[in-house]
Amino acid sequence: MEVAFYLSALVAVAATFRVITSTHPVHALLYLIVSLIGVAMVFFALGAPFAGALEIIVYAGAIMVLFVFVVMMLNLGESAVEQERAWLAPTLWRGPAVLAGVLLLVMLVTLVGGDFDGIISGETLTAKMVGITLFGPYMVVVELAAMLLLAALVAASHLGRSDAQGEADLARERQRERAEVTASRNTAPVPEETPLTDGAEQPTGRGGSA
């Protein structure tokens, strides 16, 4: 299994590197998908097939699809590639790269110096063991995560609702304002009044039909 681990880890690292250096957004996303599948393979090689399968189903199969979906909708052309190229100028990434390199060095030294042998073993974790661990010692974390997701769901549903009631209220308010304005100007009518009301009416009409 060690060969499988190192090969898929290498693929994941190389693909992630290409995600950063690639200037074409959709090509970068393809590398990100490959990288996630590489990480899933690492899980398989480490004897955690359940985590590996979930990695592909959740990340590669659902979240990345939404990423690709959004990037496809943006219709990014040559200008986006140019912008990416400008952002990848060496002056911009030199500093963070050196700092990250220091961190990598520290980690490598710790790994080589410490006694971490026996991590890649043939032992396979089953879905049942994962479930027992999740709903045993990590019960509180799972419940908190569930509440967080529920809050996110409620927020998303609030942001995305068609807002029929709110729109109607807004329209009524605008109408009243307009009526007040007309009433106050009734004593001295101005010729610009008609186009002004037209302009104010248009957004409410569109909002009502949407």
Binding site: V26, H27, L30, I33, A40, P49, F50, A53, L54, I56, I57, A60, G61, A62, V65, L66, V68, F69, M72, M73, T124, T126, A127, K128
Partner: protein
């Protein structure tokens, strides 16, 4: 003959099995394109393709020759990498899913203990075929088809997974072979009837079959995501769709209808008969049903099927705990 050890024999037999299953599936997919046209004609009171060979049986040969010899055209405005990659993903992800399906007690390619999850993973990867094909074609119709496809597939994959969790809870395993063995004499379709209904709907939607063929929708999208494809690349999408039908039929048989179990006849015959029945059912659905509007498809998925699967899962869990609190 010192190298002819039992291990070598087992390896060779496994490879032989894999090749036979692969060929059978691809052939079934290709032949199905012809059988479907004949069956649709039968049910719609038409003749269908009946000229080439006896009963029109050689129509498939003519079709395949035509597909192979057509010019393999890549539009100059297309993104080459993605344009070539998409049909490969479409075909490969579906064919790989057959890996986890146990055909008979002795036949089957891989005995993974995450069997169902492997199918879900492959179904998740399959979305990219349509998405990449639609985007790489640089065509408005193709892009619209791809957008519809990804939204539809994502929505329906959510409860496709949940629909099967009732079975997993009952069997106590993701392994397909365990699930078939647990159904001896008592098929899962009886206790998991709502799971079965929602899984059928989700399976048709994920393979973009009629009446859920929104991504293709000939009348409004001019064939959707594969409008720019020709020759064998288009053929791979085409055969891939039929491979998808065979796959979901085989899955329905394995998960809900007892797999190879059945009286009198040998296991392989039962498996093929049951799978054939569901393939016929999918063709009949195409012959009988009109295509609903796109927003109706989406709201049906989220507002009817998803709550139904959740209730089903909840009731299944409660019943399992009621019968056997220790498990």
């Amino acid at each position: 003959m010192s190298w002819w050890t039992p291990q070598v024999e087992a390896t060779l037999f496994a490879m032989f099995q894999a090749v036979v299953i692969l060929l059978a599936v691809v052939l079934a997919g290709a032949l199905l394109s012809m059988f479907e046209r004949r069956l649709l004609a039968l049910w719609q009171d038409r003749h269908g393709p009946n000229r080439v060979g006896p009963l029109g049986l050689f129509q498939i040969v003519a079709d395949m020759l035509k597909i192979f010899f057509k010019e393999d055209w890549i539009p100059p405005f297309a993104d080459r990498t993605f344009f070539v990659l998409a049909p490969g993903i479409a075909m490969a992800s579906l064919l790989l899913s057959f890996m986890v399906i146990p055909i008979t007690p002795g036949w089957g390619i891989a005995d993974l203990n995450i069997g169902i999850l492997f199918f879900f993973a492959m179904a998740g990867i399959n979305v990219y075929a349509v998405l990449f094909a639609g985007w790489a074609s640089s065509n408005k119709y193709a892009l619209l088809g791809a957008l519809r496809a990804s939204a539809q597939t994502l929505s329906y994959e959510v409860f496709m997974g949940l629909a099967l969790m009732g079975i997993v809870a009952m069997t106590g395993s993701f392994n397909m072979r365990d699930i078939v063995n647990a159904q001896e004499g008592f098929w899962n379709v009886i206790p998991q009837f709502f799971g079965f209904c929602t899984f059928v709907v989700a399976a048709i939607a994920v393979t973009h079959r009629h009446p859920f063929d929104q991504p293709e929708a000939e009348q409004e999208l001019a064939d959707g995501y594969h409008v720019e494809y020709s020759g064998m690349k288009w053929g791979m999408f085409f055969v891939g769709e039929y491979v998808g039908i065979v796959l979901v039929s085989a899955l329905l048989v394995t998960l809900f209808f007892g797999g190879w179990h059945g009286p009198l006849l040998p296991p392989i015959v039962w498996f093929l008969l049951k799978t054939g029945f569901f393939v016929l059912l999918f063709v009949l659905l195409r012959a009988a049903l009109p295509r609903p509007r796109y927003d109706k498809v989406m709201s049906f998925g989220w507002k009817v099927c998803l709550p139904l699967t959740l209730i089903n899962l909840l009731v299944t869990g409660a019943v399992i705990l009621l019968i056997d609190p220790a498990a």
